[in-house]
Structures are given as structure tokens and as C-alpha cells.
Amino acid sequence: MSAQQVLDQFAASGSETCFHDRHIEPQIYAGLDGANWHLKDYEARGGYQALRRILGKDGSEGLTQDQVIATVKESALRGRGGAGFPTGLKWSFMPRQFPGQKYLVCNSDEGEPGTCKDRDILMFNPHIVIEGMAIAAYAMGITVGYNYIHGEIFQVYDRFEVALEEARAAGLLGNNILGSSFSFQLHAHHGFGAYICGEETALLESLEGKKGQPRFKPPFPASFGLYGKPTTINNTETFAAVPWIIRHGGQAYLDCGKPNNGGTKIFSVSGDVERPGNYEVPMGTPFAKLLELAGGVRKGRSLKAVIPGGSSSPVLPAHIIMDCTMDYDSIAKAGSMLGSGAVIVLDDSRCMVKSLKRLSYFYMHESCGQCTPCREGTGWLSRVVDRIENGEGRPEDLDLLDNVAENIQGRTICALGDAAAMPVRAMIKHFRPEFEHHVAHKTCLVGAYV
């Protein structure tokens, strides 16, 4: 066997994470099997019908830009990358009449620990993102777009390039799409290992060929984005939701979620469950149901805590998360964030100090170094949590952690500082006795950490 053949044996097939029958009313992952990602397969599933409809190429009179945006607003689609901002509203911010170049950017820099949903969308259904981006470009009068793909998933980048070629060859991208007056050029761009580039303005800097250090906002990308031009940035899953909305209507999308939380959402469930993977379910699905889909807590253990929206979201103890439904409003009300939909499950054998130690190291490692509170503060957080975990903690350390976290939060250009501070405060808030035990007894309250 050649080296490449050796490596290929271990490539993920998607059968564990994506093509299982444990989604509920899926829209984006529906009907996928790993082999049917090509253009002809996507079209057989109804793909590119939404694009044909808005352009009036299905026998109808087409949709105006305003009608497309109104439909997306009606759907209550909210940004799937983490912030949950209403997508239709974001699109309406784009100054459509701006005379110069405008850009559309897809944020596929999926690096939030716990998240792997966009990888499976792009790998197994790339055309749904291309169609969603084309519809968005039409609605906002944009002619050039980029899909910024996480550098670590290079196979996905290669596949997206192939999908782009297929779409271009079929006249679905490029000049005068499907014979209309609408033109849209779409390209793939890859990152190369920087968590911060998931932040939209850092991503823009990176796309310009620079260090990915976030920009001050305002100005927002809608007025000063890529190359200083008006730019709209949405997450991969957000774009992937758009074709369904156009085909079935905004109200139908809203109806399959819950008010203010339209549609389905893909949750990446990782950690202590029997079947980690991606699960596409309607917004508002009870957490308990999601946990059941993922096979329940591993080895029959009991649930201790869940980080519900990626590593940056505050941890929630079992008794709180078990009463939540999986949507933006319910998780926010419980004191955390739905974020990117990365559900990290911890069972009762887990030491929260040790868990936090790994996360704090991550934020120190990934701080871009631009803002002093984050650059220095993440180092302090990591070192202090590390010494507590190592049995070298001091009684005043818990207050010190809180103080450092407080001095980071709200004092940095981007949200990475907040993302580093929030898990620390939430862990101490909900699991303070574990931290105190580590300090007082130099040992772990929970025992063995597997």
C-alpha cells in the first residue's frame, strides 16, 4: 500500500456522524449517503430549484430581491455560527445600491471546540451551500463571494473546489446564471490553523492575506468589510438553510421550529455519549431527546454537566440542562448560549477543574495577542487553573480567577476574551466545591479522570 492508501483507510466515512437515521425532520442532511454529493445527486433531491425559482427559470415570474429577504425574515432563520443574529435582518443591512464591488463571505472556519457540523455539510452536501450563497448574493446584489474553509479539513476544501467546478460547468455559477442577468463568482479559500479566524473580522483580515487579528467594530462589515467594501458574512449552516426556505416558504420554516427560533438546527454532540455525531433536529427539541438520539450518557453513567454551545459557552449542570429545550431563547434563559450548537457532554466521573484546565490552555494558545486583557489574562487564567489542578492552588486563587475573568470580559476588541472568561466563571459558579477541594486537599474530589 502507498502511504496515501494507508491514510485513506482512516478517513471518516460520515456513517457515524451524519448518515444515521437519528435526525428528526432533517432538511440539510436529508437523504445523504456519502456518495451522493455531486451536482446531479443534489438536483435529484430538488437542488437548485430555489435558485431557478428566484430567477424565474422554473416557469414562474421569479422573486425580487425584497421578496427573498422578506421570506428569510419571515422564516426567523438566525445565524448558525454562534451569535444567532437574524439572517434576514443582516441581509437588509447590506447597502444594495452601493455602486462599487460588494462581497459575500461564508464562514466555514469551524474551529469552536465541539463543532463539526459544517464539515459534514460541506463534505456530503456542498451544493446546498453553493445554492444558498447564490440566493443570498442575488438578494443583496452581490457578484463575488468566498467560502473560507477551516484549514484542518483540507479534504473538505478540495471537495468544495470540485463542487464549484460542477456548478460553473452547469451554468449555476459565473456570468448570467441560467441565462438570467444575475452573475455570481464564488471561490474557495482555506485557513491554516487559527481559531480566531472564526471571528468574522479576523476572517476578513485573513482573507486579505494578513494575520487574522480582529478589527474594531464599528464599522461593521456591511459598510467596511473585505477589501474595505460592503460585505455580508454568514455561517455555512445558515446558507445551507436558505434553499429550503425559498422552496417551502418562510412560514413553513418557522413552523418546524418555534417562535423566534425557526427551522432545524444541527447539533454536534461530543464527549460522554454512546454515539457522538451530528444530529439535525427542529429548534426547540428538548435536550433530553437530543441526548437520547446520541445514545444517552456513555457506559450507563449519569449526566454531570453539559457545555451546550461550544467551548466558549458557559457550562450548565445536569439539572438545569435537562429542563432546557435546544433553541437560542431557552439556553439563554438558562444562563448559557446555544452558540454553534456544539453540545459537549460530561458524565459524573469528570473533574471540572481538569476540564477547565484544557479549555483555558486552548484560549491562551489561540489569543491573537492584539488586546492586552486577553493576551495577558488568558495566560493568567490558564496558569492559575493549572496550578489548582496540580495541587498547588492557593485559597485566594478562586477570587483571583474571577477577578482576571472580570477584567477580560468586555474589554477586548473581539469576543475571544469573553469566550475565555465565561467558561471560567461558569465552572466556578456551578462547581465551586470541586475547585475548593483541589485547593484545600491537593487532590481531586471526583477521583479518577478517565
Binding site: 494507508v6 471518516a12 471546540p113 484542518e152 491554516f192 454536534s268
Partner: protein, 174 residues
């Protein structure tokens, strides 16, 4: 050629194939924004040569009409660029929390034992470099590792790790 010899040899002129790949990347961006292709060009050079040397940075800077320091800033900012020669196979094992909960750390330790090196080191035969990495974006597949920036290996139990290492060694011996 050993990694050390490669470094001493410098970057050499860029091949026609590499220049063609550069051109394909540059064509994606507006004519006055060639710099946007710098990340792709650096990744291409790394794939060809194994790492990014100062000479390579200078060549890319000239090609994209950027200051060499602006290229160097990119090389040093992003985690995946190798700033010095690495083994023929660079193994990046994710140990971030979701992976740590599913034996990511154990996979790293297993590879340390199997290869007889510590994380961050390269085997004496120059075949393997072992690194801890941050989130690879494949959390549900843990344990996961990325080989040479481009091949993700999923669900890597100790048995599979052994198969991987033995298989790569065998492919070299052929």
C-alpha cells in the same frame, strides 16, 4: 534527502507545477489583491518542500508583490505552517476538551510510546513528527489526528494507531 539536508539546500527555484498552482489561487482574487493568495501559496510550498523557509517566503513575497516580512507574519501567525523541517509524516493529535473526553490524550500518549519520542519531537529516522494540536473540527470522530495537514484520521483507537504507524513505515520500506 534528510530534513537537515533539505534545509541546507535552500528552497531552490519554484517549479512550473508550483507556479501553476500559485496562479490558480491568485486568479480567485481581484488583480490588486494578490496578497489574498499568500496562505494558499505557503500551504502549497509546505506540501512540496515540507516546511516554509525564509527563502520560500522571499519567493512568495516576490511572486505576490508583498514585503517578505508580511509573508513571515502569516507563516508565524497560523499554527499549521512548519517554520522548520519536520518529519516526513507530521502527526497532529487533537487533545482539546471534546477529544480529551474520548481518549485524545491517550492517543497522543500511545503514539509517544509507539514512536519512542515525546510530543513535539521527531523520530531519529526523520519519518515522524508528533504534535499536540488544538481543535481539528472533527470532535465527534475522536480520537482524531491530522497527518501532513491534509489527511484526517478518525476514530483512532490504539489498534488503529498501530496500523497507521506500521502501515506508513511499510510504505516507506517498499
Amino acid at each position: 534527502m534528510s530534513a537537515q539536508a533539505k534545509e541546507q539546500a535552500g528552497a531552490g527555484p519554484l517549479s512550473e507545477a508550483v507556479l501553476a498552482r500559485f496562479a490558480k489561487e491568485v486568479a480567485k482574487y481581484p488583480a490588486e489583491q494578490k496578497q489574498s493568495a499568500v496562505m494558499a501559496c505557503l500551504a502549497i510550498v509546505q506540501q512540496e518542500v515540507g516546511h516554509v523557509s525564509a527563502d520560500s517566503e522571499a519567493q512568495i513575497a516576490a511572486y505576490l508583490e508583498m514585503a517578505p516580512m508580511a509573508v513571515h507574519e502569516v507563516t508565524t501567525f497560523y499554527n499549521m505552517y512548519n517554520q522548520r523541517p519536520v518529519g516526513k509524516y507530521k502527526l497532529n493529535v487533537c487533545t482539546n476538551l471534546p477529544c480529551q473526553l474520548r481518549d485524545g490524550q491517550k492517543a497522543l500518549q500511545h503514539l509517544e510510546q509507539k514512536l519512542g519520542i515525546a510530543m513535539g519531537q521527531t523520530t531519529a529516522d526523520g519519518l515522524f513528527t508528533l504534535q499536540q494540536s488544538e481543535c481539528l473540527g472533527a470532535c465527534a470522530d475522536s480520537p482524531v489526528l491530522l497527518v501532513n495537514d491534509r489527511s484526517m484520521c478518525s476514530f483512532m483507537s490504539n489498534d488503529k494507531l498501530d496500523q497507521l504507524i506500521d502501515g506508513l513505515k511499510k510504505s516507506e520500506a517498499r
